[in-house]
Structure formats: C-alpha cells, structure tokens
C-alpha cells in the first residue's frame, strides 16, 4: 500500500536565509537542499549541528509547482521509495522548454550498496511522465551503427533508437534534498534517443565517459494511482510524448499477415488465370441497311457450348469501317433455358487529312464482358444498325470463355489493404505529432 502522507524526517536543516526548517529524510547522503520558502539553494551536513551554507538561490517560484507531494512514500520501479527532491529544469538554448524532475530515494535503507537503478527519478514534460533509472548497460558500437549516428539498434533488446534531442540543461528551481550538487549538472551535455516506450539518455561532463540513463514512459493514470492522486490533479497531457507508445503496436504482425494474404491472393489469381482461355465462336457478318419497310435486321451466330460457369469476353470488330458507324445490340441466348444476356456497342471511325496532316478518331473495335454465364448451349443474336446511306460493313464477333478478371484481384487487394492502411496512417500521424517536438524530425520537409 502506498503511503502518500510524509513520514517524520530523520533531521531538519535550518535555512540560513529565512530560518525555515527543511526536512531531511536521507541523513547519510543528502547534502544539498532547496528551500521551499525563500528558494535558497543550500549545502549542509544534516544532523551534525553545523550551519547550512547558502550556495545560490532561485528568484521566483515556477508555476505550477510540484504536482506530487514531497516526502510521499510509494512503490515505483520495483522499489519502495520516497519522493525527496523536486527540480524545474530548462535548456540553455531554448528558454521556453521547461520540465520537472522528482528525485526518488529508497524509503528505508537497503542492504548493501545502493542498487544500480538509483538515482531513480520521475520527469514530467507537458503532462508526459518518464521513470528514469541508471542504465545497467549502455550502448557501444553495435552493428553498422554507433551511438554517434542518429539512429541505431540495441543488440540485446532489439529496440531501434533514434536521436531525439541534444541540449545543455539549466536548473530553474529546486526544492527538497539532493545527494549531489544539482547546479553542476549545468555543465552536462545531454543526448536523448527515443524508442517508445523508452528514452535513453547520455549525460557527458566535459570529455569524461558519459553516464547512461534509461527512461520508461508512464501513463499519467499510472502516476496518479501510484501517488493516490486524482488524474486531473496532474498537468494536462499535451501533444505526443517523446517515448509515448503509439497506436498499432502490433503493426509488425499485421504487416506479416497482410504480406501472406497478398501472396495467397496473387497465387489464387494466377491459378485461376492459368486455366486456358477457350475461344467459343468467331464469326463474320455483313451489315447492310435494312430493306425498305423493315425497321431492323437480325443475324444469328453459330451455337456453341459453355462447359462451366465462366466470364465470357466478346470482341466486336469492323475492320473496313471508315467515316461512318455501326451500332450493334448483341444478345447471348441460352438455347435450353431461354435466358438472355444483352449489350450494345457502337463502333465508329473517322479519318481524313487537314492542312496536310492525317487525323483519325473513333475505334473499329469494341469489347464487352458477360459475367458468370452458366454452362449450357448458346448462340448470339446480333441486331446491327449502320449509318444510313453508307455501304455495307463487315462486323466480326468473337467470344472467349475463361477470361481473367483482374478487376476482382485489384478489388480484393484494396479490401486486404484497408485495415493495414488505416493502422499505418494512424501510426504515421501519431509519429509525426511526436517528432514535431524534436530537432531531428525525420518527417520534416526541407523548406
């Protein structure tokens, strides 16, 4: 059970500037203190009776102040810890950036040396929370990438890290107790690499070997529950956090599944289209103007058999059509059931020479597709009409069964891609929003 109520401090430190009594929970290690009353920054050895020394001071209280109660004891990061210090930090090169860090120390002395996870910290920026601990292993040169590059992969975890930010910190406020001189952190050069839900940070002082920290994203609700607070008491979350997990976390699995489905679909399409097409009938007709008194004329093709349900592709061609038109209504008739399929096509072709240049328009061919024609014996009835006053035209009709239906394939492909596309788009939108806050935005377009 968490105990948000502060326990009795091990000692008190008197602020030399305003005489406020400051609690000290870690008698053995705390040496630096921030006065919550006058904002003075002190050095002291608590419990010895020696006077505290003022080292510096922060001018005014930063708003909104700590969102978490100092002194609270909670279970966090696998430890029972006490929240002992609070800092507001910013960047030397960016006066607008500001975040808050909460120092966590073991609530009770731990046997042996302090675990490597410590110092343990909570950081909050724009309502996004990170639990920061010392990285047990830090990346060296791995594979083709090194940490000097802007992106690389952790060989152990497989996490793909990308450079997120590079800055020098400044301390704008400090309250509570600290076991190191936090003002010295202003000499640090900090690099951050993101791989949600993690943010790996290197802190380098001068030319010394960098120290690595691994931060893990915490949902605000988790933080609120840990400290027994209401969610609305915490800063409102804005934008997307550097290490916030995005939607579509199972994207690799979806990608794999979609790839397999597309392969299966393509294989099915190839199998279907592999069955040879079968020309059913090819016949030529001569189309003339109807006899006087007649309104229409009809021509009948040879009968043919369709062995099984199929798509029938019909091609019409008028090879000698020039500067006039032929229109034909074609009716496919099942001789057993009487069922009919009908379509109409116009063929027109014009050509000439104008200003010494040859031109042409129209087409001497036309095609139609009759879908799912059942097996049976069929013939075509053709009802042609020609341009009045023109000579006879030759009309050729050919029908082929078993035509490959590529439109079905592309339609099915779109159906398969719908969900992956939505997930991909949501992920991309989320990532674009995340990287807006970074100087290393891979989505930024050159202006």
């Amino acid at each position: 059970m968490n105990t948000p109520a502060p326990a009795t401090p091990a000692a008190w430190v008197t602020c030399p500037q305003c005489a406020t009594q400051l609690p000290c929970y870690n008698l053995a290690s705390s040496r630096y203190f921030g006065c919550f009353n006058c904002r003075a920054y002190l050095w002291a050895v608590p419990g010895t009776g020696d006077k505290a020394q003022r080292r510096d001071g922060f001018k005014t209280a930063r708003q909104p102040g700590p969102s978490l109660p100092l002194g609270a004891v909670v279970e966090l990061g696998g430890y029972r810890c006490r929240l002992t210090g609070y800092q507001v930090r910013g960047e030397k090169d960016d006066r607008t950036a500001e975040w808050r860090e909460y120092q966590l120390t073991p609530a009770a002395p731990l046997p042996g040396d302090l675990p490597l996870d410590f110092p343990l910290q909570l950081a909050e920026y724009q309502g996004h929370w990170l639990l920061i601990r010392r990285a047990l292993a830090f990346p060296a040169k791995i594979g083709p990438y090194s940490v000097q590059d802007k992106e690389w992969q952790d060989e152990t975890t497989g996490q793909h890290y990308r450079m997120w930010h590079r800055y020098r910190p400044i301390i704008r406020e400090a309250i509570g107790e600290f076991d190191w001189d936090i003002l010295e952190d202003e000499q640090l050069k900090i690099k951050e690499y993101t791989s949600p839900p993690y943010l790996l940070t290197s802190e380098q002082r001068g030319q010394q070997k960098p120290t690595w920290y691994l931060a893990e994203y915490l949902e605000p609700a988790q933080v609120a529950a840990t400290f027994s607070l209401d969610y609305i008491d915490l800063p409102e979350r804005q934008g997307v956090g550097a290490a916030q997990l995005g939607p579509g976390r199972q994207w690799p699995q979806l990608k794999r599944l979609t790839t397999a489905a597309v392969c299966l679909l393509t294989a099915t399409q190839l199998l279907i289209s592999w069955s040879p097409t079968a020309p059913q009938v090819t016949q030529q007709f001569t189309v003339v103007e109807p006899a006087a008194g007649a309104t229409t004329q009809m021509m009948v093709s040879q009968a043919f058999d369709v062995k099984s349900s199929t798509a029938l592709e019909i091609a019409l061609e008028a090879p000698d059509l020039t500067n006039h038109w032929v229109e034909a209504t074609v009716s496919l008739v099942n001789e057993q059931t009487g069922r009919g399929y009908e379509f109409t096509r116009s063929l027109e072709y014009y050509e000439g020479t104008e200003d010494g240049e040859h031109w042409s328009e129209g087409n001497r061919t036309a095609e139609a597709l009759l879908s799912a024609v059942p097996s049976g014996r069929y013939h075509f009835n053709i009802y042609p009409t020609v341009d009045p006053g023109t000579s006879a035209a030759t009309l050729s009709l050919s029908a082929t069964a078993g035509t490959t239906l590529w439109s079905n394939y592309f339609l099915a492909l779109c159906g398969l891609a719908l969900l992956p596309f939505v997930v991909w788009w949501r992920r991309r939108d989320f990532e674009e929003s995340r990287w807006v806050n970074s100087d290393f935005n891979p989505y930024a377009t050159a202006e």
Partner: protein, 74 residues
C-alpha cells in the same frame, strides 16, 4: 507446426478478426473467380430471372430494339 509458419500463426492470433476476414475474402475471391463473376460491373444490360422470365432492357438502345434480347431461338 513448421517453424516458418509459427510467426504467421502468432500474427493471426494477434489479429484474429482481420485473419477471419482475410480468409473469407480469399475464399470468396476464389469462388467468384472460378464462377467467372466480375465484381466491378457486368456489361449485361438485361434484368432477367435465371429461368429466362420477363425482364427489361436496362440501358442501351432499347428504344429501337426494346426487349428483343430475350427469346430468339434458332
């Protein structure tokens, strides 16, 4: 289960609804392909019943040939 299929099985378990829809889609696609059914448009302009019952010409030059496509046996 062969090792190469294991990632796909895991992926299918992660996305069970999508997997079900994909299987339905593949089956439907195969069945329609074998029947020769085109989903995006059929040039057939009649609206007859399967038994050759009365139907109307939907489009085309119906004015001049109205309904003739039905029962012209040889």
């Amino acid at each position: 289960m062969p090792d190469f299929l294991r990632p796909y099985w895991l992926a299918a378990r992660t996305w069970p609804l999508y997997t079900g829809l994909v299987l339905l889609l593949l089956l439907g696609f195969g069945w329609l392909g074998l029947r020769g059914t085109r989903l995006l448009g059929d040039d057939n302009e009649t609206a007859e019943t399967a038994n050759g019952g009365a139907g109307n010409s939907l489009t085309g030059r119906g004015g001049s040939h109205g309904g003739h496509g039905t029962f012209y046996h040889k």
